[in-house]
Symmetry: C5
Subunit: 104 residues, 5 copies
Amino acid sequence: MLLGRVVGTVVSTHKSAKIEGLKFLLLDMIQPATMEGQGKYVVAMDGVGAGTGEIVFYTSGSCGRYTEATLGRPADATIIAIVDTIEIGGKPTYVKNPVIEDAK
Amino acid sequence: MLLGRVVGTVVSTHKSAKIEGLKFLLLDMIQPATMEGQGKYVVAMDGVGAGTGEIVFYTSGSCGRYTEATLGRPADATIIAIVDTIEIGGKPTYVKNPVIEDAK
Amino acid sequence: MLLGRVVGTVVSTHKSAKIEGLKFLLLDMIQPATMEGQGKYVVAMDGVGAGTGEIVFYTSGSCGRYTEATLGRPADATIIAIVDTIEIGGKPTYVKNPVIEDAK
Amino acid sequence: MLLGRVVGTVVSTHKSAKIEGLKFLLLDMIQPATMEGQGKYVVAMDGVGAGTGEIVFYTSGSCGRYTEATLGRPADATIIAIVDTIEIGGKPTYVKNPVIEDAK
Amino acid sequence: MLLGRVVGTVVSTHKSAKIEGLKFLLLDMIQPATMEGQGKYVVAMDGVGAGTGEIVFYTSGSCGRYTEATLGRPADATIIAIVDTIEIGGKPTYVKNPVIEDAK
């Protein structure tokens, strides 16, 4: 699986019936040691409800059809995880901002 | 899925019987932040009736066989969507020219 | 699918029984705007009777097993079309030399 | 299969149910002649209990679903072996540190 | 399929049960016009009994599981042929050293 940052969306009204109802997110691949975007983009089906700015990884090829959201659909890139932390050599290179669920 | 611009066509009379009746379009991969072509070409089966100049995305590998138009056919790249808008960081980098359907 | 020029052959007597009887052609990938070879080679199974010098496109991955010639065989690159014309922006970049079938 | 060094981990709580219970390791691809990391990273499912610093190889694409740990799961990269030795031209370029199982 | 030279071996005792009994060879991809190694390595399952120094081609992706030796095994790269000759533009760029089977 490859790591990317959700940077945008791709909208299409005229498309294969097999991908109706799916959301297409635009990912910029990241280098996990520096977390910098590489300017290498992929359109991925969203299988987990990812949002802009989040770090995710996606599965490609036929594996893209093996998630709940994409079964039997021609998705060659499907986001399967929103990343919380990336650790290299025992040190975090990325920690997702904690969600304050109840700030009262 | 990867984004490309339809730049031309490829015609073949001598071909596998399994791809008879399909249309072969030539795509130039684009960089969605700049919308510039990358001079990296792929021949894609047309699954949605795309035309020259349109921005599309295609699915690759075995997923290319999972559209209505290509079921069971050896299409390793099939166009599955004509793109209306691409948005990066909340700003559109591409908006398809609106089709004036009724200009009376 | 990717475009290539048939530049040669690869011969093997010691090989998997599953590819017995298939012909292995050597392709040099081409850039369709200039028709120049890229020095990037692939060994492809011949599914259409292609000959040296011809421009073809091949299908890759599991799709390579979905032609009449290669069904169930481990062919990850199979030529499925001999190209007649390539057109970019409405202008031909390649036209196959017409075959004079009856020159009497 | 490609060779990599386990350099870290990727943690996700919000993910596809199909990958629940799997461990995601971060690999840096290595050049086996020099054993240097290439700064090219992949997230791989762990099918063999690999640990940080170990040299492994992983299988990609649909093959990633054909291990005991990942059957039917959308894993497009699964570690299938921890490497003991790599030999090029008859000389070892890598030998795993021997594990002293009983140092009494 | 891609061409490579067998340059070494990779040994693993701790591995997926699904690849027990297979031999892992290290290939250096070659440029068939010059026959030079490209320093781009892949670990391939040996499906034909290839030896060090031989030129081979391997099949990748799911095709790697479609040889007698690897059926149902997660081999994303399997050697399916030992090459005798490579010919480009009608001239051999590679001819395997003839094996003197009976030198009496």
